[in-house]
Symmetry: C7
Subunit: 94 residues, 7 copies
């Protein structure tokens, strides 16, 4: 099954939690907070949103940080995704 | 009885719940959460909404994911439907 | 007494509750939820609403479904009505 | 003392409660709910409201139904009035 | 000290409470509710407010009724005033 | 350290509380409410705010009354200031 | 890892708390409130936000005061940042 986001929406998948502390110790997923970085899986076509033209500047594969509590969680084929508006994405991580 | 959605609204019917886990086991409806996928039964004519022209890009038969808590539940002839604005539909599933 | 809705408002009267189950059994009014279908009794003239021109597409006699909790309940001459904005009407039933 | 409503406001006075049931029995004021019909006592000049030109279509002597909880109650010379925006008036009763 | 209201604001001073009942009895201030009539002490210059040009139609000395709970109470030199937007003034009393 | 307000913001410092009653008695700071008058310490450059051009009409040294609860309290070098939008300033005191 | 803020957003890092009282005594971090000054680490490209063109006037290295409770806290590589809209930044400190 393929999920095609509509309008100015973006389909995200949270990265597996694996955090390295400054001193280099890798913590197991259980020990750390939910990671805030997600991968862009699919990007909507943009277009008119609330009477304003929206251009999509994100692309598949971008690693991003989304605003907390934004978007809708979706479970398809047992996988969990989040669908957010592009404007709810705060930053790109490189 | 036929339900004709007005303006930018879309009539949805939730798909029967039947979820296959990743390992291929089919769970009975009772054991799974309410499915998030719905079928588009009818599409309103679009037109001016809050002073902005809205074009309908969804069509009958599309399988979609709607934002949680959006829309109004309607029971007609014993069948349950949801009527949402097209802008509350997050994604199309193919 | 005649009630003439103003602006983009519509005067509705809820249909008497009488619901037939799929198997054809007619339930008495007490046994069913409040019906969601109402008849349009009168339609306002439309015109400028919040600086936008509104055209009325509903007409007397239409059977409609209104958004829950929308509008104002009115009791005139012992009869109960609801006055809603046309934009709070979700669908026409035929 | 004369009250001159400003802008798009309308001065209303609730009608004395006297309700006739369908069967023709007149109920004393105490036994019935607060009536929803009010008389228009004075009408503001209209004009620009929030950057939009408002024309007044109500006139002194109209009998109207106002949205519940709209407006401000005012007591002048021992008489009670309500001042509402014209857009809070739902219907005219004739 | 002189208070000069800015923008579309108006400086009000509540009238001393002295209310005459219909039958002509004058009630002492303590026995009546806070009066709703205030005098306009000073009027701001108007001008652009939220991107819209506002003209001031009130003038010093007008007796007005302001919307309840509108504005800010101010105490200067031991005197109490209220500063409200002109749009929060419902009516002029003459 | 110098604080330069941005956009349409104004840096205020509350005046020391010293209130003279009508009869001329000076009350100590503890005995009176927080004074509502503040001095303008610095004024932002104005410019486009929410898509609208804002001109600053306040200047350093003005004594003003700001709306209650508006703005953000800031402590720099042990001194307390408030930063508010110019539109939250109700009046100038002269 | 590099964090690139999107749109009109700015990446901030709170300054280490070290506050000198007026009398010159340096307080340890524990004894003082969370400092309100932050450094600008990175600035988004600006552009169209809600249909309005936003120009970025902040630059890397600026020391700023942001509105309380604005923005989203982000933890990347064990470091804590805040991402805010440029319009939530109240003042520059020099």
């Amino acid at each position: 099954m393929t999920i095609r986001p509509l309008s100015d929406r973006v389909l995200l998948k949270a990265e597996e939690a694996e955090e390295t502390t400054k001193s280099g110790i890798v913590l197991a997923a259980k020990a750390v907070e939910k990671p805030q970085i997600a991968s862009v899986i699919a990007v909507g076509p943009g277009g008119e949103v609330d009477g304003k033209e929206v251009k999509m500047y994100l692309k598949e594969g971008d690693r991003v940080i989304a605003a907390k509590y934004s978007g809708t969680e979706v479970k398809i084929d047992g996988e969990e995704y989040t669908i957010v508006r592009q404007s709810d994405i705060l930053a790109v991580v490189e």
